[in-house]
């Protein structure tokens, strides 16, 4: 009996690794600290009322952003561990298995649990404000999306200490990720966590598509929308069509693992390459899902900090839509080396190169927007300027990879690693940080310290080049990705030392971002104007932080850059339209059900990971029940009275 318990525990908990014991201790300590602080300051009710049950898009956006920053830390620690292991040949720091787990979780977390929530954070915070709406089309669904993401992230991270992390790479290719070669629960964690967060992402895509199409303020035609909103619209279209193939691929691989099906096995007719095919049907468009919103942020930031209208607005819109559509015709470039034949490879190589054209159009438009503008190098603008050379190099190496015959050399080498980090960090992370700095005063009502931010910027940006440029060289010299160590005398040692040093610099940069936030919470300058950057779009017409109903009166839009137009009219002393009297506002009720529903999804996922079907079944019934309860709920919104609105507006000094 005792033996059985011991045997179970040794498989259930991950034992024998000091790093993981350290993680166990820190998880327990952090959890205790959170519980203690919440209890000591009597904040449990506040947490539940203000955050866990909220359906307010601004609060959901803030929660997405905090989660994304935490995951950036988690994935960043993985990266530091990997670079430390690779600094010298024959490093004894990490074992092969541990290294496999780390690169798998690093990739999975950075794409699905850092980049995705970061773009969701920015779109939640900015889109309804930019289009002059009071919330998203489906606020309750929006809360469900967030909590599904959150608990999926928890589920994946739990694998670290319970059962063992996934170890077949973030792409989780069959047959390596199949039951034959990977018995452990780690792959199940991967499949279920991605499935659960995928449901949330699809819901967000639908939600924001409808919001942008149907809830714009009067006068805001499609061609008057801010470019960030356009970029989100394009990203939503990709989400809507790209996530279902991922859902299918993950389900089928899960059926292979749990039900003994033969989709991607190597016997009884299964075809592992079909998994690769389906994975990249989502995987390639996914790259554009995360990078288009970053492009949108740059468009806003560049125009605001150059004090000019965006150059070539129509071509910006056209290139967003072109990228969204063409992104569905390039997926085979991730597996040219499968050998699908000259017809297939040529088609997908050409389609891939075509995408460079609209992307190039955008880069030139940003440059022309800056040209002859009055540029202020505030933090958001710094990141935007740093992005351009970065993305130019990353894009150029991407076109090199798109040449199918050459790809047979580059494939799965460090050249590829350098390329996709250059576009994903230089594009997405720079973009999201720019967006965070840009909208921070709008979210919280105070400014972030400029000086600490600049230190962070220089560490991160220089560290980035020091880390990743050598990896192009390493790739040419034959170093392949995902190797956990190498021999001396390969000629790789020097460049690896440099690269690891660069990773440490980036780590220092991240520490400064955290310091900057902590310092500014205490000492940050208040933003009393609501418009600290002299902005151009409607979110800057509101006080910071924004009242929960956003707009006391829905604005009337007369042109592109709506807020700029209004400010200009005011300066010229033009007749201001009479303010309409305030009217009562309908607001959606808060609800605890999205949180509870997502906890049930978490329990369901955990039961499936360990094939404890009774547990999964109970949770599944719970999920159905909460859906049924929602269906029978008719009283879902309330009305804010004119008095209430007047009081809130008066508190902001705006009557």
């Amino acid at each position: 009996m005792l033996y059985n318990v011991e045997n179970f525990a040794s498989h259930f908990f991950v034992l024998g690794d000091p790093l993981i014991y350290g993680a166990d201790v820190s998880i327990v300590l952090v959890s205790l600290a959170i519980v203690f602080v919440l209890t000591y300051y009597k904040k449990w009710g506040w947490l539940w009322r203000e955050w866990l049950t909220t359906v307010d898009h601004k609060k959901i956006g803030i929660m997405y952003m905090i989660a994304a920053l935490l995951m950036l830390f988690r994935g960043g620690v993985d990266a530091i561990l990997m670079r430390t292991q690779l600094i010298m040949p024959n490093m004894p720091f990490l074992k092969a298995q541990h290294y496999n787990e780390i690169f798998t979780t690093h990739g999975t977390i950075m794409i699905l649990f850092m980049a995705m929530p970061f773009i969701f954070a920015m779109m939640n915070i900015a889109v309804p404000l930019q289009i002059g709406a009071r919330d998203v089309a489906f606020p309750y669904l929006n809360a469900i999306s967030f909590w599904l993401f959150f608990f999926a992230a928890m589920l994946l991270n739990l694998s670290f200490v319970i059962g063992g992390s996934p170890d077949a790479g973030w792409t989780s290719y069959a047959p390596l990720a199949g039951l034959t070669f990977d018995k452990g629960p780690g792959e199940n964690y991967y499949l279920l966590a991605l499935q659960i967060t995928g449901i949330g992402s699809m819901a967000t895509g639908i939600n924001f598509f409808v919001t942008i199409m149907k809830m714009r303020a009067p006068g805001m035609t499609l061609m008057r929308m801010p470019l960030f909103t356009w970029s989100i619209l394009a990203a939503c279209i990709i989400i809507i069509f790209a996530f279902p193939p991922l859902t299918a691929a993950l389900t089928l691989l899960l059926m292979d693992r749990l039900a003994g099906a033969h989709f991607f096995t190597i016997f009884d007719g299964g075809n592992p390459m079909m998994y690769v095919n389906m994975f990249w049907m989502w995987g390639h468009p996914e790259v554009y899902i995360v990078v288009l919103p970053a492009f949108g942020v740059f468009s806003e930031v560049v125009a605001t900090f150059s004090k000019k209208r965006t150059f070539g607005y129509a071509s910006m819109v056209a290139s967003l839509i072109a990228i969204a559509v063409i992104s569905f015709f390039t997926w085979v470039h991730h597996f040219f080396t499968m050998g699908a034949g000259p017809g297939v490879n040529s088609f997908f190589a050409v389609a891939t190169m075509i995408i460079a054209i609209p992307t190039g159009v955008k880069v030139f438009n940003w440059l022309f927007t800056m040209y002859q503008g009055r540029i202020r190098t505030k933090l958001p603008m710094l990141w935007a300027i740093a992005f351009i050379p970065n993305f130019a190099i990353g894009g150029a190496s991407g076109v090199m990879l798109a040449v199918a015959p050459a790809d047979y050399q580059f494939h799965n080498s460090y050249f590829l690693v350098a390329h996709f980090h250059q576009v994903l960090i230089g594009g997405v992370v720079f973009g999201m940080l720019a967006g965070m700095y840009y909208w921070w005063p709008k979210m919280f009502g105070f400014m972030l310290n400029e000086r600490l931010g600049r230190i962070a910027f220089w560490f991160f940006n220089i560290g980035f080049y020091v880390c990743f440029l050598p990896q192009y060289w390493l790739g040419w010299m034959g170093m392949t990705r995902r190797i956990y160590t190498y021999l001396p005398g390969m000629g790789w040692t020097f460049w690896n030392i440099i690269s690891t040093f660069g990773a440490y610099l980036m780590g220092v940069g991240f520490v400064f971002i955290v310091l900057q936030i902590l310092y500014s919470i205490r000492y940050g300058e208040r933003d009393l104007t609501g418009d600290p950057w002299d902005g151009r779009t409607l979110e800057w017409s509101l006080p910071s932080p924004v009242p929960h109903y956003n707009f006391a009166r829905i604005p009337e839009v007369t042109g592109r850059d709506a807020w700029w137009t209004m400010k200009e009219a005011k300066q010229k002393g033009e007749m201001q339209p009479e303010l309409e009297p305030l009217k009562p506002i309908h607001m959606p009720n808060d609800s605890g059900r999205p949180f509870i529903l997502s906890v049930l999804f978490f329990i369901f996922g955990f039961g499936m990971v360990f094939t404890w079907y009774p547990m999964a079944a109970v949770a599944f019934i719970g999920i159905l029940l909460s859906l049924i309860l929602r269906s029978f709920e008719y009283d879902t919104d309330h009305t804010l009275s004119v008095d209430e609105i007047r009081r809130t507006e008066a508190a902001y000094g705006r009557v």
């Binding site: 409808v210 199409m213 303020a217 069509f241 279902p244 089928l252 033969h262 009884d268 007719g269 389906m278």
Partner: protein, 208 residues
């Protein structure tokens, strides 16, 4: 709102159906159409898998050995009829005839239940003959594609029943009308998917 303006203009003096009278309901119908687009791609992925794998029969039986023409034809005609009766329910709803609407919904549900029971008995006889999910890639793909559709139909049956109850409680209001309209969209969509399962899986299977 911009969109609402155009909504109003295109309307003119004509009256809108009940399910569109409140903007929030209209938004949900819009959202559901977009959901159907995602579901379309989910089935597209499963059809792609089936198309790639359906000749990979391994050591197991092929389509000719397990497909039963009478069985799948009966399933097809039942589902087609249920789509028609579901359409009649919407038609009655637009005329404000609650009783007729609920009656047609009940007929639709019953047809759905008979469709599912036929499908389950088909699956059971396949499994009895040793053709299971674990036998070959072809059978994995077949059971998953057809089973996913079946799961959708089962979900639709439960959903339509819930809305029937709400109709009985609340009567025909803009909210219940919107709910009924959305479930009818779902039901017709599943009929469309089935037509392609009928053609690409069953008819193609018995053709060779």
């Amino acid at each position: 709102m911009a969109m609402a303006d155009s909504f109003v203009k295109s309307q003119g003096s004509q009256s809108v159906p009940l399910e569109y009278t409140h903007e929030e309901d209209a938004l949900r119908i819009f959202g559901f159409w977009i959901f159907l687009a995602t579901d379309l791609l989910l089935f597209a992925s499963l059809f792609a898998t089936y198309s790639v794998l359906y000749r990979h029969v391994g050591h197991g039986p092929g389509p000719l050995q397990i497909f039963d023409i009478t069985g799948f034809s009966a399933e097809t005609f039942i589902l087609l009829t249920s789509s028609f009766t579901c359409g009649l329910a919407t038609y009655s709803m637009h005329r404000g005839q609650k009783a007729a609407m609920m009656a047609w919904m009940i007929v639709t549900i019953l047809l759905g239940v008979s469709f599912i029971s036929l499908e389950l008995s088909e699956f059971a006889s396949d499994i009895a003959r040793g053709a299971t999910l674990q036998t070959s890639a072809f059978l994995s793909a077949f059971f998953t594609l057809v089973g996913t559709h079946g799961a959708h139909v089962s979900f639709g049956i439960v959903w339509m029943t819930l809305i029937l109850i709400q109709l009985a409680i609340h009567g025909l209001t803009p909210t219940t009308a919107r709910k009924a309209f959305i479930v009818s969209l779902y039901w017709h969509f599943l009929d469309v998917v089935w037509i392609f399962i009928f053609t690409i899986v069953y008819l193609l299977g018995v053709m060779s």
